[in-house]
C-alpha cells in the first residue's frame, strides 16, 4: 500500500500563508494601534441568535447546537427556541442595565418569526449581524458557487425585507467554503466573524474588495465551555475576564486589541446562569480600559486609529 506520489508534492510550501486571503504579518512587528478613546481592549460581545430547524439535513455535518435525536426532536428544537424567546431577553436586560452594546447575529429565518426580538435589539442600540439562513444552512466547499451565492442572496433579501442592512456576517457553525469571502462581499457584507487569525481587525482579500475579519474567540464560546467541556459558570466567566486583563497587560507594548466572545441565548440565558453573566458583564462595565461595542463601531475605531 502506498499513497499517490503527488501526496508528497508541496505546491504552496514557501514563506507566509498557503492561501491568498491575507498576507503573513507578525503582530509584534506592526505599529501598536492607539484608539482615539484611549480604550485598551475593544470587547465584541456576539449574541448568536440562530434558528435551529427541526428537520436538519446535517450536511456536511450537524451544527453543534442543532438537533440530536431522531425526528421530530421536540426536545432540542424547543430548548434551542427557548433561547430566542426567553433567554435572549435576559441577556438584553443584563446588557441594558450596564449600558453595554453588543452585536446580535441573527439567522434570517428568525426575522419574521421573531420580529419582536429584532425590535428589542434595535431599541437597545445594538448592532445586528447576519448569521445565515438558519443553523442547518451550512456553507461548505461541497456547494456549487451558485448554490452558495443563492443562499447568501436569500439572507440578504430577508434582511432587506425587514428593513435591515447588516454589514457583518457570522456563518452557521462558523463554516465556510473557499468561495464564501468573495460571495459575502459580492452581496455587500464587509465584515466577517468566522476568522480569528489576529487580535486586531484583519482585511481578507476578496474579488470585490476587502472583508474585515474580527476575532471571535471560539475557545471562549459559552456552549463550548459550559456544555461541550462541562466547565462551571465561574470558570467560564473567569477565562473571559482573564483574557480581558491579559490583553490590557499587553496594551502598552502591543496596542489595543479586540476581545470577541459569543453568548448563546439558550446557554447563557438560562435562569441559573444569569447571575454569572451579570458578574461577567460587571467586569466589563466597571473597567475603564474596556470599550464594549458592536462589530461595525469596532472596525471604525481601528480604521480611524491605524497609522
Amino acid at each position: 500500500m502506498s499513497l499517490d506520489p503527488t501526496y508528497l508534492d508541496y505546491p504552496r510550501r514557501g514563506y507566509g500563508q498557503d492561501m491568498d486571503r491575507y498576507d503573513w504579518a507578525l503582530a509584534k512587528d506592526r505599529a501598536p494601534v492607539r484608539l482615539a478613546s484611549g480604550a485598551q481592549v475593544a470587547a465584541m460581545i456576539v449574541v448568536a441568535c440562530e434558528h435551529h430547524v427541526i428537520d436538519p439535513k446535517k450536511s456536511p455535518f450537524a451544527h453543534p447546537h442543532g438537533m440530536v435525536t431522531p425526528f421530530p426532536d421536540l426536545r432540542h428544537f424547543t430548548s434551542r427556541d427557548y433561547g430566542n424567546r426567553v433567554g435572549v431577553f435576559r441577556i438584553l436586560e443584563a446588557l441594558r442595565a450596564r449600558g453595554l452594546t453588543a452585536t446580535f447575529a441573527l439567522s434570517s429565518a428568525l426575522l419574521e418569526r421573531a420580529a419582536p426580538l429584532v425590535d428589542a435589539i434595535l431599541n437597545d442600540g445594538h448592532e445586528i449581524a447576519a448569521a445565515g439562513l438558519h443553523g442547518d444552512a451550512i456553507h461548505h466547499s461541497g456547494l456549487s458557487e451558485d448554490e452558495e451565492r443563492a443562499m447568501i442572496g436569500q439572507v440578504h433579501e430577508a434582511f432587506a425585507a425587514a428593513g435591515l442592512e447588516p454589514t457583518a456576517w457570522l456563518s452557521p457553525a462558523r463554516q465556510q467554503s473557499f468561495n464564501t469571502p468573495d460571495l459575502l462581499t459580492e452581496a455587500g457584507f464587509t465584515r466577517v466573524l468566522d476568522w480569528e487569525s489576529d487580535s486586531v481587525p484583519l482585511n481578507l482579500r476578496t474579488a470585490n474588495g476587502p472583508l474585515a475579519a474580527l476575532p471571535l474567540f471560539n475557545e471562549l464560546e459559552d456552549f463550548k465551555l459550559l456544555v461541550e467541556r462541562k466547565q462551571d459558570e465561574a470558570l467560564w466567566t473567569r477565562q473571559i475576564l482573564e483574557a480581558k486583563d491579559f490583553l490590557k497587560s499587553e496594551h502598552a507594548s502591543r496596542g489595543a486589541s479586540v476581545l470577541g466572545f459569543q453568548l448563546t441565548p439558550f446557554v447563557a440565558g438560562q435562569p441559573f446562569r444569569i447571575s454569572a453573566l451579570e458578574a461577567l458583564l460587571d467586569g466589563f462595565a466597571g473597567d475603564e480600559a474596556v470599550w464594549c461595542a458592536g462589530a461595525g463601531d469596532i472596525i471604525g475605531a481601528f480604521e480611524a486609529a491605524s497609522p
Partner: protein, 316 residues
C-alpha cells in the same frame, strides 16, 4: 426553507401579560420524580436501541432498579420531611411491576402523569393506532391503580411523532412536559383541546446535570438555588414555573442526596412567595384563568400565525 413546526406562537419574554398564581405567589414550584422501568431485554426500535450497549446492559439496568428498590424511598421520605408532594412522571408498567411504590405515592396525595409504558419503548415509527393504544393504556392503568385520571404526558424517553401533541390533546390531556421553550405555561397549537406546555426545566433535570454536564452534587445544588432565585425574581412581574425533574437512580445515590436536600431547604424557605403545586394544578389554573389572556395578547400583538403543530408536514 424548512417549515416551522408551528408548535406554538412566538411570544417574547418581555412585555407579557401578568400571570398570577393563587394567593399572590410569584413562582409555581413542582417536583417531578420520574418513576421508570427499563426492560432487561427490550424489543428493538428501528430508530434507537433500547440500551446504549447490547442487552443485557447489567450496570445500566441494575442502577435503575436501585432507584426503585432503594432510592425512591429515600427521596420520598425526604420530600415528606419538607412537606412536598411529587407529580410522578410514570412509566405506567410500574403499576404492574412495583405497585408498592405507586400505592405509597398515591397514599401521600401525589399525582401522576404518563411517561409512556416503559422507558425502553420509544414512540418512533409508531402508527396512529399504536400511539393511541399507549395513551389508552396509560389512562386506564393509572386509573385502575390509583383512581386518578391523568392529565399530563411526557413522551417515553422524550421520543415523539408528529401526531403526539394532537393525540394527547384529543384524549383530554391538559398539559405536555415535552416542550422546553418557556418558563411559563403557554398554549400549544393542537387541532383540538387546550393543551398547555408545562415548564419541565430540562436544563436542571438530574439526567442532564449529573450526566451530560457532569456536575458534582454540590454544584447541582448551587445551580438549583440559582435557578430558583432568578425565576422567583422574575415571577414578581409575571408568574413563573420551576420544575425539578428527578430520577431516584441518580439523585438518591448516597453521595448525592444530602447536597440535593440543601437546595430543597433553600426553596421551601421561601414559602411566602412560592406556590407548591403539581403540574396538574398549574395547568388547570392556567387554562381557567390565563389561556385566553395569553391568546388575546398574541392576537393583539399580531403574533398568532394560525394553523396547528406540524400542519406543514401533514400537507406534504
Amino acid at each position: 426553507m424548512t417549515a416551522d413546526p408551528n408548535l406554538y406562537d412566538y411570544n417574547p419574554y418581555s412585555g407579557r401579560p401578568k400571570i398570577e398564581w393563587p394567593g399572590g405567589k410569584k413562582l409555581a414550584f413542582w417536583i417531578a420524580p420520574n418513576i421508570e422501568f427499563y426492560e432487561f431485554d427490550p424489543p428493538k426500535n428501528p430508530k434507537r436501541p433500547g440500551w446504549p450497549r447490547p442487552a443485557p446492559d447489567v450496570t445500566g439496568y441494575s442502577q435503575r432498579d436501585y432507584g426503585n428498590r432503594v432510592g425512591h424511598w429515600r427521596l420520598m421520605e425526604m420530600m415528606d420531611r419538607h412537606g412536598l408532594r411529587g407529580l410522578v412522571s410514570l412509566n405506567v408498567a410500574m403499576c404492574d411491576h412495583c405497585p408498592e411504590i405507586i400505592e405509597a405515592c398515591a397514599a401521600r396525595g401525589w399525582e401522576f402523569f404518563s411517561h409512556g409504558v416503559y422507558n425502553t419503548r420509544f414512540s418512533y415509527e409508531m402508527d396512529e393506532a399504536q400511539e393511541r393504544a399507549v395513551l389508552a393504556d396509560s389512562i386506564a392503568t393509572v386509573e385502575a391503580a390509583t383512581g386518578q385520571r391523568i392529565r399530563g404526558y411526557l413522551a417515553p424517553a422524550l421520543t415523539h411523532t408528529t401526531r403526539t401533541l394532537d393525540l394527547i390533546a384529543e384524549h383530554d390531556f391538559w398539559y405536555t412536559c415535552d416542550l422546553f421553550q418557556d418558563d411559563q405555561p403557554q398554549p400549544v397549537k393542537t387541532k383540538t383541546g387546550k393543551l398547555v406546555s408545562m415548564p419541565y426545566s430540562l436544563e436542571v433535570n438530574d439526567v442532564i446535570t449529573y450526566g451530560q454536564l457532569a456536575m458534582d452534587p454540590w454544584r447541582y445544588a448551587d445551580v438549583l438555588k440559582r435557578q430558583f432565585d432568578q425565576l422567583l425574581k422574575e415571577g414578581e412581574a409575571s408568574g413563573t414555573v420551576m420544575c425539578i425533574p428527578l430520577h431516584a437512580y441518580l439523585v438518591s445515590q448516597p453521595h448525592r442526596l444530602r447536597a440535593f436536600e440543601t437546595a430543597l431547604a433553600h426553596i421551601t424557605g421561601h414559602s411566602g412567595d412560592v406556590w407548591f403545586a403539581t403540574a396538574q394544578e398549574i395547568a388547570g389554573h392556567f387554562r381557567e384563568h390565563f389561556w385566553d389572556v395569553v391568546q388575546d395578547d398574541l392576537d393583539e400583538k399580531g403574533l398568532n400565525t394560525g394553523g396547528t403543530a406540524f400542519d406543514a408536514w401533514a400537507a406534504s
